[in-house]
């Protein structure tokens, strides 16, 4: 199981998923309407490291963070 958390304005409870890679996470999140609408503009961190690798292999207990558009300052 990996844990997926949704940051900032997404206001979505964390969920747990079975996933071997980030691609598996993508497939499952795309099926949840309230989340799917955000995905094209969200970045992703695994265990707090930003990543651009959809093939990234996940292990038990990994934390995946979904980061919607930002505006600091």
């Amino acid at each position: 199981m990996v844990k997926v958390e949704f940051l900032g304005p997404m206001a979505q409870e964390s969920i747990e998923l079975e996933a071997k890679t980030l691609a598996d996470v993508a497939t499952q999140l795309q099926k949840i309407d309230s989340i799917a609408a955000w995905l094209d503009k969200c970045a992703v961190a695994v265990n707090d490291q930003m990543t651009a690798d959809l093939g990234m292999v996940l292990k038990e207990g990994d934390k995946i963070s979904i980061l919607p558009p930002v505006c600091g300052g």
């Binding site: 940051l7 900032g8 304005p9 980030l22 996470v25 993508a26 999140l29 795309q30 799917a36 995905l39 094209d40 503009k41 969200c42 970045a43 992703v44 961190a45 707090d48 490291q49 930003m50 990543t51 651009a52 959809l54 963070s65 979904i66 980061l67 919607p68 558009p69 930002v70 505006c71 600091g72 300052g73």
Partner: protein, 145 residues
């Protein structure tokens, strides 16, 4: 890097950073002080921050600045920040002015684009995500593929 609940104490932070580097022999110190403007009837802006990723973003800038012989610092507010008070201060120290002037520009612009901070307008006590002023971070859209 420092995060504070509510508005930043601009003078205290400016002075603290000045004194931290007063023996470092830097020739240029350029702070950028961001203040909440009164506009669109807002009472305040409010901020969420994801600190673990912000810390890494900042640590990368510390390394990048070191390679140029320079130093960066930053402070940001968490939660509500009333109009006419400060939410954000960043700064560059460098031996030479050209490096400092170029670095403060790049540092502030990358901050706006890639620091994991979410902004909300506060109107009549309600928090409204500033969607139209927000920017997808580098690498966004990965999970929509």
């Amino acid at each position: 890097m420092e995060l504070h609940q509510g508005s930043l104490d601009v003078e205290a932070i400016f002075s603290k950073w000045l004194h931290e580097e007063e023996a470092s022999n830097y020739g240029a110190y350029i702070p950028f002080v961001g203040t909440i403007r009164a506009e669109d009837g807002i009472e305040a802006l409010s901020f969420d921050i994801y600190e673990p990723v912000l810390q890494q973003w900042f640590d990368n800038w510390v390394k990048k600045a070191e390679e140029l012989g320079a130093k960066v610092k930053m402070a940001h507010a968490i939660g509500d920040v009333p109009v006419h008070t400060s939410s954000y201060i960043s700064a560059v120290f460098s031996p030479k002015r050209r490096v400092a002037l170029e670095l403060i520009d790049e540092f502030v612009e990358d901050f706006k684009a890639n620091a994991p901070i979410w902004k909300y307008d506060v109107k009549e006590g309600k928090r409204i995500y500033a969607a139209d002023r927000s920017t997808p971070m580098n690498g966004s859209g990965l999970l929509s593929k």
